[in-house]
């Protein structure tokens, strides 16, 4: 069951990612990215990271991508034109792509040997309570520093926007 779910959503994620690059219309690309994020959330869920799965949906799919789509709609961006020298690009890029995938496969194989089983389901470090405890005890300082960074970014955005008015 786990394996089938993993395969289904892995295929969906990769398919959406390829579609993201192939589409010419920005809205289609943005929605493919939403698809990638949704299937990634399911993969997190299969690994037992239920909190991170929910946050993935709430933050990335629900907030950031909505903002992307909002901006695309406001700017009324149309479909891009395909570049003219497609055939040449195809002939150069396809071998490069295969080389890259082969290299990545070799790297993954050497780093995570096949004898080590990927853990499905049994992993229990991902509940909301455990993530919260880790964040507020062991990783308190990085957590607070990140919040301050985000606060600074918000202040910067407000200052930049004020100049325009």
């Amino acid at each position: 069951m786990d394996v089938w779910l993993f395969l289904t959503f892995a295929v969906i994620a990769v398919g959406c990612a390829i579609n993201l690059v192939l589409q010419t219309h920005p809205i289609s690309s943005a929605l493919s990215l939403v698809g990638v994020m949704g299937s990634l959330a399911v993969l997190y869920l299969l690994l037992g990271g239920e909190f991170i799965a929910a946050v993935q949906l709430i933050v990335y799919a629900g907030a950031i991508m909505v903002l992307f789509i909002f901006v695309i709609m406001l700017l009324n961006a149309g479909a891009e034109r395909r570049p003219t020298r497609r055939v040449v690009a195809l002939w150069i890029s396809l071998p490069l792509l295969f080389t890259f995938i082969a290299l990545a496969a070799v790297l993954v194989e050497s780093q995570a040997p096949r004898t080590e089983v990927v853990r499905f389901g049994g992993f229990t470090g991902g509940t909301a309570a455990e993530v919260g405890r880790a964040l507020f005890t062991r990783y308190l300082l990085p957590f607070e520093i990140t919040s301050i960074l985000i606060l600074i970014a918000i202040l910067g955005a407000v200052v930049l926007a004020r100049k325009e008015i």
């Binding site: 219309h25 809205i27 929605l31 939403v34 959330a41 239920e50 909190f51 929910a54 946050v55 949906l57 709430i58 799919a61 629900g62 907030a63 909505v66 903002l67 789509i69 909002f70 709609m73 406001l74 509940t127 909301a128």
Partner: protein, 399 residues
Amino acid sequence: MNFYVLSLIKTAIVALALLTALAYLQWVERKVLAHIQLRPGPYRVGPHGLLQPVADIIKLMTKEGLMPPGANLFFYLFAPFLAVTICLISIVVIPFGPRVELFGVQTNMGLTDLNIGVLFILAISSLGVYGVALGGWASNSKYSLLGCLRSAAQMISYELPLALALAAPLLLVNTLDLRRIVDAQGGFWFGLFPQWNVFAGPFPQIFSFLIFLIASFAETNRVPFDLPEAESELVAGFHTEYSSLTFAAFFMSEYANIVTVCCVATVLFLGGWQPLWPAAYGSNYVPALVHFAAAAVFFYHGAQALKTRMWDRFSFPVLGFMFLGLGVLFLIPFLQPVLIPLFWFLAKAGLLVFLFIWIRGTLPRFRYDQLMRFAWTFLFPVAVVNLLVTGLLVALTSK
């Protein structure tokens, strides 16, 4: 019993009940609005317009589905499908009642229980904006586009106070599992008054409840925040160009959203299926008495029917007998553990749905700048202060 068979049966029951309720919610809304405005409302199709939803469904199914020129066909058809799917998904984590045993089968009332039920609802509802935004954008119409931009901005803005208002009661119950949230609200003050989150110590969540309600009015695009479909400015907002079944899908998703929001409010703030006062003081007889009272009202009006509405002499007593039968069901001992929690849950959720309709009949619409200013300069700070005060009091009183 096999897990899959049991889940299938439960899903079928919930889906049938939900879809029927959605169809009839529209009838209820039209009737309540009509009575607020001193007119009879739908009256022609069936007794008191009771068959109106059926007629509407047939009408919508047989109408021609129009494609606006220049529309993005894929997204134009995908958007209503997305909207209706997303708003129906949230219902799977709502617990309708406690663990029960019926015909020798033990099961939880509700489709599933997640450890992260609250987060699941937040995640799904944050995806709800896609259906609206895509539908408005793909229609290739200025009214639809303006409607969908307004709606997206409004839903993003009001999601913040909504999430903050949800967080405060979670501090009291200390879990994200909706079933355990309801269980935690089961006690009674002095053995009499309910310990629902709106009344619970150390800090009653009445402010969170109000913030949640206000924000959910905006999330579901209802009056007084129905700017996305302000008919005087935008014809019908994001679904201006939709017709036939695609329009029906958007229409259904609006009502499904209301039902979901009311169920969530019931579970988080109003104690889910917990009764208003303990069973020791006879709260188990309330459902039967309410139904008997409704039956008595129907019999009285059937006897007093107007000369111009002779049909009522027949239809009202029939309804009266139906309610009498329902009331008797609540007195059968082996059905009681199932039906009585269900009654309390549906009564609370139903009252909230009625509140949604009532407010639509009472309040005027906000202006767009008022709506945004209200969200960011009033509702959001109040929600933050409420969360901080709750957190402080919980930290001070916890052992």
